[in-house]
Symmetry: C2
Subunit: 200 residues, 2 copies
């Protein structure tokens, strides 16, 4: 195998995407507040001004990162299977596809879930998270109303528990452990919608 010259670069470099990926990893390791642009430059092996060539500030990196996660989740909300059909089936689709987004954008979602609202970017991200939670809660409420899911659960608590399961993947899912993503999504949906108990 010979090196493809089109993939070789004159010097080590980052585009905005690869720089963002490294930055998010560092934020997740050290905490966003605990990471300076100096720290990022050291980890990247480039100068601070080389970073500023791509982004205006550490805040912009945070904004790009949390929006990556949020845009992925809201794209699921907009899918036809999330907007058409019985509410319980739409809820099931939303849960299943959210697992896929979480895995695809794992470091970005991990960072999003740690955001606590200390800055404008963080407050905006939290507002979008609340909007997403509200959409899930409404779907639960509709599914209860039309008889698709049990009526003895609180819609808001149910939404939080469903995404407690989904979001827990940021704590234990590791791409290198050979976990089968479709299998995990199936298990989340099986537990949440059918339950663990055998019928009999």
């Amino acid at each position: 195998m010979t090196a493809d010259p089109t993939t070789r670069r004159g010097r080590p470099g980052y585009d905005r995407e690869s720089l963002l990926r490294v930055a998010v990893t560092v934020f997740n390791d050290r905490g966003y507040d605990g990471t300076s642009m100096e720290d990022l430059a050291n980890r990247l092996g480039i100068t601070k001004s080389a970073i500023y060539h791509h982004v205006s500030s550490k805040t912009e990196l945070l904004r790009l990162a949390v929006n990556r996660a949020l845009d992925g989740l809201f794209a699921v909300v907009a899918e036809p299977e999330s907007t058409n059909g019985p509410a319980a089936a739409r809820l099931e689709h939303l849960v299943r596809r959210s697992v896929a987004v979480l895995v695809a954008e794992l470091p970005f979602v991990t960072l999003l879930l740690r955001v606590r609202g200390n800055t404008e970017v963080e407050r905006t991200a939290l507002a979008r998270r609340r909007e997403f939670d509200g959409i899930v809660t409404d779907l639960v409420r509709q599914a209860i109303a039309d008889g698709g899911i049990r009526s003895d659960v609180d819609p808001s608590i149910t939404a939080r528990l469903l995404f407690g399961m989904v979001n827990s993947l940021t704590e234990w899912y590791r791409p290198d452990r050979g976990h089968d993503i479709d299998g995990i999504a199936d298990t989340v949906v099986a537990i949440a919608f059918q339950g663990l108990r055998t019928r009999g």
Copy 2:
């Protein structure tokens, strides 16, 4: 109403328990690594040496705090309902009672779940968490083997998802919002064991 003289103190003071509670709150707010004994003294309104009257170090505060959470969870494991009877019922008991422990020891469990293993105390806490996860995983495995729960789920992933739901309470449960604890525990168990879908 007159002040009860037995509840009045000559000067503001803390016993070890109340000092620990405040320390854990500060650790959760600022991060354990980001909190110095100086920070704690300032928050408590006492001197550092007054803190050292109760505990030998910041590390000891961390050890006391995470052990509070872990001891609570392992006490549930030792309850008769967790050790006798069909595995699915024992698993259900363990999940239900873990919700109660989590709520009773909320700041301590919150801190435990953030521990990442940078020190000996943290590594020991992580090892005890893994031991607990192993107990849950074994119960799932036994419940599958004896036909109490569905056989198409992976025991380890199921254990993690179950406690993903339970542990999510540290993210959204607030004692002052009038949440009904028994109702939340019932909802966790209903979702996990019976599922959301109506039978029909």
